[in-house]
Amino acid sequence: MSSKVSRKQFLKGMAVGGTMTLAASTLAGCQKAMPSGPVPSKWDEEADVVVVGTGFAGLAAAIEAKNAGAAVKVIDKMETPGGNSIINGGDFAAPGNWYQKEQGIEDSPELMLKDMLKAGLNLNHVDRAKVLTEKALEAAEWARDYIGAEFYRLTFHGGHSVPRTVQLVKGGSELINKMLKKLQELGVTVETQRKLERLIVDEAGRVVGIEARDGYTFGDETSGKTIYIKAKKAVVLATGGFSRDIKMRMIHDPRLTEAFESTNHPGATGEALRAALKIGAMDVHMDWIQLGPWASPDEPGFGYVPLFCERVVGWAPMINPKTGKRFINETGNRKVRADAIIEIGVPVIIVADTYATEKNVPANVIENGLKIGAIKKFDTLEEVAKEYGIPWDAFKAEVERWNQFVENKKDEDFNCMIFQDAKPLGFQPPFYAARLWPKVHHTMGGLVTDVNGRVINQDFQPIPGLYAAGEVTGGIHGAVRLGGVAMADCVVFGRIAGKNAAAETPAA
């Protein structure tokens, strides 16, 4: 093994999960990558560890690699750093966290794992999911204490059995900007407009560097000039998902045409993932592409409505405007909700009163949502029905039924989680409502990696010199990723990949 990750460590990692197919085949096949073209006779630049991507995973990897003593280079193809993470909502799933303790909420890594497996339809790679749940709290504390990111409250996301996500002030940009600042303090410069073109593999089958376009402008494939960057120890791929790569997502899920908007930034495309596939990496779950059921057709991108909708589920009902009735467990996972909305075929309505809204939703979300018209305000429920064409009698009866469930704290129809402090809809008018139509949000699929962050090849073996972390990897979430678990995944495995990359023995 050319890696310093010892066999003992590796097997220990395997034993943690136990269920991965890798264990059965560690003795077969070759630890090498496929050739991708010539190795340059002269490198333009070099570093011990080259990190590609500047979201949560990439920056976490860069910081850990640097702190482990490696010379680090961080590149990003976009003009600005932060990838999708900088527009992330800012929720970090951390079981047993400080807010839960304050509020007396019992939680554990085991319970989080159970939730992940349930939502993931047990397709999750359990060994990695287990590492994630065990290290998520430590990673959140690292973000809070070492990086200095400011969290301010506990939030709930559908599919979790308890509120367990800690939320950053200013969303994901808080953590990204504090990590960028930390990297600056550590003397690492983030190099934007540098796009990975090819992973370079030497004769021994080790990834030894990258071919990149320097001065690249997103969308102009002829821009910039070719440079070769040597990675003496390893390359870490942290290039995110492919939600905005319409051609690629339609290969895996042909329903996801350009008619579906995405919550992602424009750079969420899949060429870096494919660069790894070209050298023999293995992929998994590529057709499990998550749609956000809380998105609005009345605003672009992620917008304000998700921050309203996700905060009032469990306090307020979602209504099918055709029937006037509820149709799904509002606190269920993203997949069941998105599928149910698509089956209805028209945008559905979430409606909450002032009590539920003011108790849960930041004031600026409502203010801005109202300003652009994605959220609307009504004095009565009858006006809500009129605006969205909901049959009034059926709607009125359904609200009465919902209110009974709220009083009893038990939803007999869909088993929605009803929060302790929830009050019947109409307790305090006026009402706030929004239309919901799913948007492409997260690609669960990606590169197969082991618990050490190493990319696995088609012979079930780690590719020497290649690590990956974050949304570019697949398997950990199974069929459905729960809210707040992406950031946890990125930070936990970004750190692991960075540390292990720095511990590699340089190529001969």
Partner: protein, 171 residues
Amino acid sequence: MNAPTTPPSPKGLKGFIARRGIACTIVIALFILLVAANAVYALWEASYNPSFCSLCHIIRPYVDSYHTSEYLDNIHQQANVGCKDCHVTTPIGALQEVAAYVTGNYENPLKERKIGTDVCLKCHRSYESLAERTAHLNRNPHESHWPNLRCTVCHKSHRPAENYCAQCHQD
């Protein structure tokens, strides 16, 4: 029948010095140098005038745009800001440009330059002062999650501005 030989008078600088004397030579050399320096200086000064830049056929379209467009270049023209106030260069840089021209090592149309924020802030004071001016907007582009977003990511001089934020956010 040999012609009488006269010693050949030394040619070149040596001869010149021999004929005129060292002091005179130095005075003349200094004079020439002064004229040349003045000419270079005048040229350098003249290069601040946009019409100087438009002498070059590759740059001319940009200067035309500067005089007539609806873009930032024309706004800067109205404020009496010249090409070289943004396209900051040094005499060596200018020589390199001449060399690039002579050797044909340039693009046409020219590659869009990425002017640094520091150049803009020579006149536009500070990011904070700009943020104050756009504080009325729903999302303040000068107070975004990119604290040091380069101005030219959105503000283009010779073509319409691009709303970079709108790639993900509604105004």
